[in-house]
């Protein structure tokens, strides 16, 4: 059995140290910054400049759910501050100075406002469906701003469209884009699927930001026939689909990391035909070619995900 106390002691020490550090640092309290600007008198003033044809134009926000003032949760609802609900008090932005550039609004959704401040604004309203697991998630820890992916003023937020969403994700995950063009891939490039069919970008708990708590549970959403439980299970199948498959794309159908027989021979060596070395010489060998060509091991052992046949112990029925 493993006896590696070093790692555990190290881990405990780090945790303890950090705990103390946090305790003492929390005691310092939050910084408070008094805003200098005040709220303006509503969207009418903002839209005078940010109307259609101007740069930046914000008129399309009224085509989005946020722009529906009849909705009590809208930034434009009765009692809200319209544009300044998100952009903060911005009276100083409205007044053009005699010299120099115009002052920015209280909050801008770009490099001028710290990411955490931007996100606080969004999470203030979207706390239910987004914020629950956002904190501590990979994207939060990478200091992504909501506006890095979402276009708030656009009539159609690109990430809500199957094809446009992929472009948003690929801008930081370029390798995944190339994987979708491989010989065997999930149909992302056709728009039949998109990233959020499997991943939840706001998720913090599940592996790989998946929509379900495990890899297999996520795959079973569309491939429920492989869920079992089978009479004769294939052990790695029950553990992790990713042991044999590359979910974003592979050179070997169906999304296999390698093709049989070598894929199978990584684990199986019982002697006899499963453990033989098959070389190009065997392609013409009328006895050996059945183990190598066509579907190779799958010519006979096709029930690799498990079999419910009482005689399916070798996955042939």
């Amino acid at each position: 059995m493993i006896n590696k106390p070093g790692y555990r002691v190290g881990l405990k020490s780090v945790v303890t140290l950090l705990g103390l550090l946090c305790y003492f640092s929390l005691a310092q309290g939050d910084e408070v910054t008094e805003p200098e600007a005040k709220y303006s008198s509503g969207a009418n003033q903002c839209m005078a400049c940010h109307r259609e044809g101007r740069d930046p134009a914000a008129h399309e926000v009224f085509l989005t759910p946020m722009g529906i003032s009849g909705s009590p949760k809208s930034p434009f609802a009765e009692g809200s501050h319209d544009c300044e609900t998100c952009h903060g008090p911005s009276s100083t932005h409205r007044k053009k100075p005699k010299e120099g550039d115009r002052l920015l609004p209280g909050v801008t959704f770009n490099e001028k406002t710290p990411v955490n401040k931007q996100n606080e604004i969004c999470l203030g309203c979207h706390s239910g469906n987004v914020a629950t697991h956002w904190t501590g998630s990979v994207h939060e820890e990478e200091e992504l701003a909501c506006a890095n992916c979402h276009k708030i003023h656009a009539a159609q937020d690109p990430v809500m469209d199957k094809m446009a969403q992929q472009e948003v994700c690929f801008s930081c995950h370029p390798r995944t884009r190339s994987e979708t063009f491989r010989a065997s891939s999930h149909p992302l490039r056709f728009g039949s699927m998109t990233c959020t069919d499997c991943h939840n970008p706001h998720e913090g708990n599940n592996d790989f930001l998946l929509i379900r708590s495990t890899v297999n549970d996520t795959c079973y959403t569309c491939h429920a026939e492989k869920r079992g439980p089978y009479l004769w299970e294939h052990a790695p199948v029950t553990e992790d689909c990713g042991l044999c498959h590359r979910p974003h794309g592979s050179n070997h159908a169906p999304l296999l990391k390698q093709r049989p027989p070598l894929l199978c021979q990584q684990c199986h060596s019982p002697g006899g035909h499963p453990a033989l070395a098959y070389t190009p010489d065997d392609m013409e060998n009328s006895f050996q070619q059945r183990f190598l060509l066509g579907r190779s091991c799958d010519n006979c052992h096709s029930q690799v995900h498990g079999s419910n046949h009482p005689s399916g112990v070798t996955n042939t029925r």
């Binding site: 839209m47 239910g128 190339s178 869920r227």
Partner: protein
Amino acid sequence: MKKITRKFIFSLAALLPVMLLSTNSPAAEEEKSEPKIYKCRQCVKYTGWRGNIDFGGAYVTDESLRFGDYRGLEKDGFYAAIDGDIHFRNLQGRYFDLKAQNLTYDSRELDLRLGIQGVYEVRFGWQGIPKYRGYGTQTPFIGVGYGGRNLTLPEDWVYANTTIGMDALESSLNVAPMKTQRKILDAGWTLNMGSAWKYRIDYQQQRKKGTRTLGAGMYYTNATILPAPVDFKTDQIDMDLTWAGKKAQVKLGFITSQFSNLNSTLTWTNPFHAQPQHQTFRAALEPGNKSYQFNLAGALAITPRIRLTGQAAAGQLSQNDPFTAYTINPIYSDRPLPRSSLNGKLDTSTYNLTGKIYARLNNRLSFTARGKWDERDNKTPVDLYTPVITDLIPDKPRYNRPYSYKRELVSADLRYRAHRVIRLSGGARQENMDRTLQAAERTEETTWWGEVKISPSYYSELRFKYESGEREVSDYMQPDDGGPVDHPLMRKFNMADRDRDRMLIELDLMPWESFGINLSYIKAEADYDNSALGLQSSDDESYSINLNYALGKKANMYAFYTHDDIDAKLLNTSGGNAEPWNADTRDRIATFGIGLSTDINEKSSLGIDYVSSNSTGDIWVQSTDDNEPFDPLKTDLRNAKVHFDHEFSEHWGLKLYAEYEKYSSRDWMIDGLGVDGINMVLTMGEQSPDYNVWYFRAQASYRF
């Protein structure tokens, strides 16, 4: 479940008009209360109906099954082409959004959402996904189809020991497209109750119908590739109740899914032998199953800088389809089964606890700790079965092996902003896995990682990340399950000692506002040095370059290139004291893309995209010094798209689209074999796809 499903759909359908009628007409509402936005003279008031309907025709120049995958355009010739979107808004928040794509193709998609913003939403969706499961397939079998669970051969079939002697094969062959069509129906409803409560329920039904290839052996000598039926149905209901406060959120959810296969077995006439006991064989197809899971998730902000999140889920999978007999072979068909069905049952549970603490050192330090526990507790009864292998060979009794496992995952990460431009991060992760009935009872993996991120400005960032992990395995002892035993030196790679290293270097630069460049390099190595046999190493190297260039406000150009190199080394032996043989595999994939999108003027826009993806797969198996490598596996995809939109008037426009795709592939495992190229195996003659297809589409666009 059928009853539940129907009831649910009827309830939803019944609820819809009630909900729509439960609020007054827009005009009445407008009279009752004047939304605040009316007071904003400068605000654009998008109310009423608007939309876009595109209709016209499409033409595909060549027939190609692979080009038809997911597109539904496998046949050459003309197609009608209809797309569109229709929207309604009023100032009280009532909305209606309908989006339709490819309505006349097998890949049609429909998405409908309506409701009152912030009050409720009703959703309906429909999607078709066509896919071929093999190209160029033929078969002599009769009765092929999604209900084809009894496959027979023509009366004049000539039985033989190998395909060489099957004299009637050529005259019996029929083209048998192995195509599945997935149809997905979605319906859902969300209700916001006050400012904090929300209830959501979604129902989904997936039907998958068609045919696929399925291999089945006979003795250890022959095999037949069969056109197996596919008629799957999965019903899923997913619902949750959320309470979201400012400092805390709780979500209670329930998900249930039922899979049913309308073909539980496949019976076929054996094409190889004519003796009575060899005449008909039978395989079991995927059994129906059920699953459900309750989950509870929550988050609590203890202080603005300390937040705890957690999630717990528990559920069950079950499967109890009746068993088929041990064999259809009359000699052994009366063997008694230990039970009539599996009564398969396994409990699943997942517990997550994530804590994140921000420690204030001028906003510089954050710390995250996580724990996750997964369990698959397989309670399927264990019985002694006496299989008849391939319907012919009585095997010794074997117990079934319901696998269970537990996974524990604990991690701690620290992020420290040492300077305005430098962030240092590091962490540790411990993952332990306990398995039952397998060679290794326990594996423990410890991973350490560190990262430096340098961001001199918002427009430039350099990141270097390194990760190193070591997995150790408890005593590796192959279980004796009564079946064939692997070589004692074999180590299955998911339970073998492993050293893994991963490095990432990324550079993001935006030298000027209109130009961005991203470079990334990833290298991952996994070594299984303690495995005398089995996977020895697995390396993965990838680099990418991405460019974006904005040509003024109206045009954007992009280009990307990615190169992947995936290697693996394997050692195995034919048994006993035989000398090990080794295999090296290497996949290299290069993907290049370039594109432009531009508004030519206020009425016209143009988009051009080109992608090429080229792959080579090398396999070299060496049992002696003079073994040659296999011919490289090749794929070459080239895809170009051009679209041009023009508005003639306020209401009318034109949309033109052209796509060219060239695909070629070489695969020595199937190319040129036909149905009888493997003497002992009757295949379906699958071939590597190779095609050149042009797809043109012209649509008039009516906008309102």
